[in-house]
Amino acid sequence: MRLRRLAVLLLALVPALAGCGVGRAAGPLRVEIVLHYSHYQPRTISIPAGRPVTFVLRNADPIDHEWIVGDAALHERHRTGTEAHHDARPTEVSIDALSNRETTVSFPNPATLTFVCHLPGHEAYGMVGTLTVTP
């Protein structure tokens, strides 16, 4: 019986060993966003309110990008802003070309927000996504 249990355990480990693990460890949820060809993948994300979420931002492009999440008023400020680099707030992150960044955010209340890259021309090009914070 021990051998059979071992086999079942090995089978359970196969997905993780193959890099396809979807297991959820204790702590923040992890959401990966790939920035490729100046678009976010995925473009639509849903997370629960009140729980910390670590966003893993992988910039696969040879140009810099941003991931700024918030409501319409925040984005309007950024469209005319002067802050060249963002690293002071977890909801506003600059990601250098061909690099990764992680940021952990907790949204206390349900909301529908957008994440946008405000570098010149990027938003118009389609670098926009939707973040839904569910109850």
Partner: protein, 348 residues
């Protein structure tokens, strides 16, 4: 008078150079004022297996600097200052109504790791660098050298690098331009010599940095030994065959008299392709077959992806080994799952 720069243009893209760290996060220009590359002009001649690009970079002023990034079909054998009259003379040949208003043969054409640097040249106020690398390497080089690439650059660089990993970066130094007394609109002709089996003109890159609805207008001039076959064909939306005829002896003689144009043959075919398309529709390049085979390359035109490199025996051995390891692992796990010890059977 229509500006010279509205008459000849092809493969170039305005790429702003960063103007310091105070760049507005939502702004479009640097603090020192706008720096724009107004237009660049190109002529592509082909003779005896060599493509000759003659291009004029127009100085657009501004307080910073600007440049262009140009995909090439192969490694150039040389990049030198071009003659001043070639582009103007070709314009006159195909737009006769404007002859009276042009200055005939004017003195100056009013007109992850980094990529590998293959060649560097300084031509007047231009810094020319020939690069070899994929989209990421060229993009990294551009970033490290002050170019600010537009958001569509990653996809467009990939589009070109998959077929030819050779790019030419040209950066205008406004300080040197000022020292040379260059005014806005003055052009610097550059002659790029590229050995290649067939000529080629990149068109998609004309749309770089433009919104999908913006219009791209350009004229491409070709001089080949015989009438060329083109792909896409000239009846493609966005393309128009504006001129196709044997070049006159006078034109060839005039071109041959310009600096670096001694290669112009005694007879040739002159083609002018007018490009007029929405940026979002310009997803192809101009492939040219000048050999007489009438078979321009679909890959060169950007209409087909290049074949992947053939797998080597070593690649196949690694693949077989990997599959064997996976198969053994699966058999091991399955075997453990279904195996029952013999002792258990005997005890019953």
């Amino acid at each position: 008078m229509r500006r010279l720069i509205t008459l000849l243009t092809t493969t170039f893209v305005a790429l702003f150079l960063t103007a310091g760290s105070a760049l507005a996060c939502g702004g479009l220009i640097g603090p020192n004022g706008a720096v724009n590359l107004l237009r660049t002009t190109t002529f592509a001649g082909y003779h005896e297996g060599v493509e000759h690009y003659v291009t004029a970079f127009e100085f657009a002023g501004g307080g910073g600097a600007f440049g262009s990034l140009i995909p090439l079909p192969g490694v150039p054998s040389d990049v030198v200052k071009g003659g001043d009259l070639t582009l103007q003379r070709l314009i006159m040949e195909t737009t006769p109504a404007q002859r009276d208003s042009l200055i005939f043969f004017g003195a100056a054409a009013a007109a992850p790791s980094e990529a590998q640097v293959l060649m560097e040249r300084k031509i007047d106020a231009l810094d020319i660098t020939v690069l070899k690398g994929g989209a990421d390497e060229v993009g990294t080089w551009a970033k490290n050298h002050g170019f600010r690439l537009p958001p569509d650059a990653p996809e467009v660089l990939d589009f070109y690098a998959r077929r030819s990993p050779i790019f030419l970066a040209a950066a205008f130094d406004p300080t040197r331009a000022a020292a040379r007394g260059q005014a806005i609109g003055d052009g610097t002709p550059v002659h790029i010599t590229i050995p290649t089996p067939n000529p080629w003109v990149p068109l998609r890159i004309l749309a770089l940095g433009k919104s999908g609805q913006e219009r791209v207008d350009a004229d491409v001039f070709l001089l080949t030994d015989r009438k060329p076959a083109l792909l896409p064909s000239s009846d493609t939306p966005g393309l128009q065959l504006a001129h196709s005829a044997a070049a006159t002896d006078l034109l060839l003689s005039d071109l041959r008299s310009d600096k670096g144009m001694e290669w112009v043959p005694s007879s040739a075919w002159l083609t002018k392709v007018a490009v007029g398309a929405q940026a979002s529709k310009l997803m192809f390049d101009l492939a040219i077959d000048a050999s007489g085979q009438e078979a321009p390359s679909r890959v060169a035109a950007g209409l087909a992806v290049p074949d992947l490199p053939a797998a080597t025996p070593a690649d196949l051995a690694r693949l077989v080994f990997g599959l064997a390891v996976i198969a053994l692992g699966v058999l091991f796990v399955v075997g453990l799952t279904v195996w029952r010890p013999a002792r258990g059977t005997l005890s019953q």
